[in-house]
């Protein structure tokens, strides 16, 4: 082999060798970073899956390898110096490169070239420039560490860290969804909602994973995302079928379903009437009008199969074709039943989607860390009796105090703190007579709940001792009522209470 060919071969191999080693180094760094990232996930709310780490390491290693190989290949001088070092050529190749470039000039050049030709015959380029991984042990060790960590320690968190807070939020949402999913499943089964039942089962599986002790954020997000996409997809299919069945898009689903169910019952009655024999002309006309009336109440597209079937039934009745009319009414009945089922499916799926999105939102809030997930989790409490929540307001819109009534806020808004701090000591229980009740759960698939609870007190005389209230106290109460911000509707109650005390006093 001539020195030039040897140099070219060495240069090519050296370029690959350098590129591979750079790639190896990159992989080592990426894997080490992934391992550090996994360590960080003990304290911070993120999770790093080993598949991502391996793909990132492999991808970056390949990219760096190709980049170094083709963007910065080895030069002839580098290859020559490498050969000199590896094959103990005493700088023959480096000097050869310099001589070929015309520097230096000497009377000994020919003698030197002969020497180089002799020397390179002993060189095996594959041995001189081996292309093999050198850091594979480090890479393997890091890969094993990353995988083992993910399999064994995934989901582990340190106490009092954001990661622990998020993990708790994930588990709490998992438990909440689990309860809901079981309820949805029972409900869907009892109502024969196939799609809703299927997605409820899927929600239950996701919730079980989320409520596991080592549930991770990424897993929860993945499950919720997948679940939502699945529900959205099923809903789209259901909505499409509803459209085909002639449902109007702008109708309120639940109300429409109720109305249709009512119409379905009406149709069933008409169907039964059609089976009665004989069917007089007057009776037929009455039935036709009823059908016409029902068609008008359908609020479906004109081309809807149910509407068409009803129109067909009316035509049949006009022709006194009772069996045909009966068949058309049955068809309309079936179509309506299917539409009602679809609407119920849609309603159940919408509810599921809403809850899944609420869970996603709650977890996302916990990740952002700006709010206490406990507080964020708490759903706003509405007090139906409060003037604010009453339509029109008990105190009326013109009552200024009714507008500023805030009502109990403790626990109703997101925030920090503990309930006892806000509410004070627990309310003392009155010595009221109560009835022990046993609440049985529903028997069926899934868990059965049963608990003994204290039911509301039964009607009885008050046990609070009544004392004589001096007039001075009544006056003080009146002043206090005037000074205090007692909501207007309650003011009268308080006054009446004190008045009763006065009347009942000895």
């Amino acid at each position: 082999m001539s020195p030039d060919r040897l140099l070219e071969a060495a240069r090519s191999r050296l370029s690959w060798q350098r590129a591979l080693r750079n790639g190896e180094t990159t992989a080592v760094w990426v894997l080490a970073g992934a391992l550090a990232g996994q360590l960080g996930s003990l304290a911070f709310p993120y999770s790093l899956r080993w598949e991502w780490a391996l793909v990132a390491a492999a991808g970056s290693a390949v990219a760096v390898t190709l980049l170094v190989r083709f963007v910065r290949p080895a030069t002839r001088l580098e290859a020559a110096c490498w050969l000199d070092r590896r094959c103990a050529l005493l700088d023959r190749m480096c000097t050869y490169v310099a001589v070929r470039e015309g520097n230096p000039r000497s009377a000994l050049v020919n003698r030197f070239l002969e020497d180089v030709h002799r020397a390179v015959q002993q060189v095996h380029v594959s041995r001189a420039v081996p292309i093999r991984p050198v850091r594979w042990r480090a890479v393997l060790a890091l890969v094993a560490s990353v995988v083992v960590w993910d399999l064994v320690l995934s989901g582990a968190t340190l106490p009092n860290t954001p990661a622990r807070r998020v993990a708790e939020a994930v588990r709490r949402e998992g438990r909440r969804l689990l309860d809901l999913a079981q309820e949805w499943e029972r409900d869907a089964r009892s109502r024969g909602l196939v799609e809703a039942s299927r997605s409820a089962r899927r929600a239950r599986q996701a919730a079980e994973l989320m409520s596991a002790p080592r549930a991770t954020l990424s897993m929860a997000q993945r499950q919720l995302r997948g679940l939502r996409e699945e529900i959205v997809s099923v809903r789209a299919a259901v909505q499409s079928r509803m459209q085909e069945a002639g449902s109007l898009a702008d109708r309120d689903g639940l109300k429409a379903a109720q109305a249709l169910r009512e119409l379905e019952r009406e149709l069933a009655r008409v169907g039964r009437a059609l089976e009665e024999v004989p069917l007089g002309a007057e009776q037929a006309e009455q039935l036709r009008r009823t059908l016409s009336l029902l068609e008008g109440k359908l609020h479906l597209q004109r081309s809807a199969p149910a509407s068409a079937a009803l129109r067909e039934a009316q035509r049949r009745l006009e022709r006194r074709d009772r069996p045909g009319a009966r068949e058309a009414v049955r068809r309309a009945e079936d179509t309506l039943r299917e539409l009602v089922r679809l609407m119920e499916e849609e309603g159940a799926l919408a509810k599921q989607q809403h809850e899944v999105e609420a869970s996603s939102l709650s977890i996302a809030q916990a990740v952002r860390g700006g709010v206490d997930p406990e507080a964020a989790q708490a759903r706003p409490v509405r007090y139906p009796d409060s003037p604010r929540n009453r339509p029109g307001g008990a105190g009326g819109q013109d009552d200024p105090e009714a507008q500023v009534w805030e009502g109990p806020q403790e626990g109703a808004e997101p925030g920090w703190g503990h309930v006892p701090d806000k509410l004070g000591s627990a309310t003392p229980r009155l010595d009221a007579r109560r009835r022990q009740e046993h609440l049985p759960g529903e028997v069926g698939e899934g868990k059965v709940f049963a608990a003994r609870v204290q039911a509301p007190g039964v009607a009885d005389s008050a046990r609070t001792p009544l004392l004589r209230v001096p007039a001075r106290v009544v006056r003080q109460a009146d002043e206090a009522l005037r000074a205090a911000r007692v909501p207007a509707p309650y003011r009268e109650w308080v006054r009446r209470y004190f008045s009763q005390l006065t009347e009942a006093g000895p």
């Binding site: 050296l14 001088l77 490498w82």
Partner: protein
């Protein structure tokens, strides 16, 4: 002359010298490298280790005229370079005639050079550098080849005059002649205390030596080797851009450009002696110690701690990488 002829002659010279000089292979090689590189040598060693014998034998082997100057404190420059003397001829005319000193030779042994005063030591400066002597305004060229091989005793420092840096720098190599090992001493006794004292035969002459010197300069030195030499010398300078750690700590002033020249020339001679027409970094490393050790001016801290220049040079050589770039990650 070609590389093979040089190598053969070199080996014959070594073999001939080996007949009288026992051991000291490194010193003999160093002296020969300096001779063929056209430089001067400073030999440092205790008395009686064969320094003078080596030089005399070298002169005989190379077929060169030899003179020895025993440097003493009362030695005057004129005793070295010569002087004009008034000579009266038979007719009574008196003329000033230049009487050449012992420096007018081809191999000059400056024995115990550090015992003479700096003024006398400096008398060698022009001869060593310019290969000429100027007396009373007249310059007298010295016959080529011309070598100065100076010796100095490292232990008897009282009453001596350490060589000035300028003169030290003019020596191509500084060789340390160690005490011979036991086997060598036995061999010395065997050779020198019997009735037959070995003698050397000349195997070359002045013309041959000049041709060999010319061939040394033809040896190829690739740019990366020259760069390596430059980096080595640069690393000995504590104020330089890239000083070695040892230089930063122990050196007051590093090697001069003449040191770089000496390093490369000695490396070239070594390459040729080893049958190669090109110099390698290994050659440079091999001659770095004798070529640089006398060119480093150590600082007070180094003197106080007894740091040897050899240690500094070794550390510099270890620290400065070859020019050969290494692939990343290897």
């Amino acid at each position: 002359m070609d590389v093979e002829e040089f190598g053969a002659l070199y080996q014959r010279i070594r073999a001939e010298l080996g007949r009288v000089v026992v051991g000291h292979a490194d010193v003999v090689e160093g002296v020969l490298l300096a001779v063929f590189a056209g430089g001067h040598v400073l030999l440092e060693g205790v008395p009686g280790v064969g320094k003078t014998l080596m030089v005399k034998a070298l002169a005989q082997v190379l077929g060169l005229r030899f003179s020895r100057i025993q440097f003493t404190p009362d030695l005057m420059p004129a005793d070295v370079v010569g002087t004009n003397v008034l000579i009266q001829d038979a007719e009574g005319h008196r003329v000033l005639t230049f009487q050449p000193g012992p420096v007018f030779s081809q191999i000059v042994l400056a024995d115990e050079i550090n015992r003479a005063t700096p003024k006398t030591q400096s008398a060698l400066l022009e001869a060593m550098q310019e290969y000429a002597v100027t007396v009373a305004g007249t310059t007298y060229p010295l016959e080529r080849p011309f070598f100065v091989l100076a010796t100095q005793n490292p232990i008897e420092m009282e009453g001596t005059y350490p060589l000035p840096e300028a003169q030290l720098d003019r020596f191509l190599l500084k060789l340390r002649v160690p005490f011979p090992d036991r086997e060598s001493v036995v061999q010395i006794l065997e050779r020198t205390t019997g009735s037959q004292v070995p003698e050397v035969q000349p195997v070359a002459d002045a013309a041959t030596v000049l041709r060999m010197q010319a061939l040394v300069r033809e040896v190829l030195a690739a740019p990366h080797v020259q760069a390596y030499v430059a980096r080595l010398v640069e690393a000995t300078h504590p104020q330089g851009p890239r000083p070695a750690k040892a230089a930063r700590r122990w050196v007051r002033y590093g090697a001069s450009p003449r040191g770089a020249q000496a390093l490369l020339l000695a490396a070239k001679a070594r390459a040729l002696a080893n049958g190669r027409a090109h110099t390698s970094a290994e050659d440079v490393r091999a001659v770095a110690l004798p070529a640089l050790r006398h060119r480093l001016l150590l600082n007070f801290e180094a003197e106080a701690e007894g740091v040897d220049p050899d240690q500094v040079v070794r550390e510099v050589v270890e620290e400065v990488p070859e020019v050969a770039p290494t692939p990343a990650g290897t």
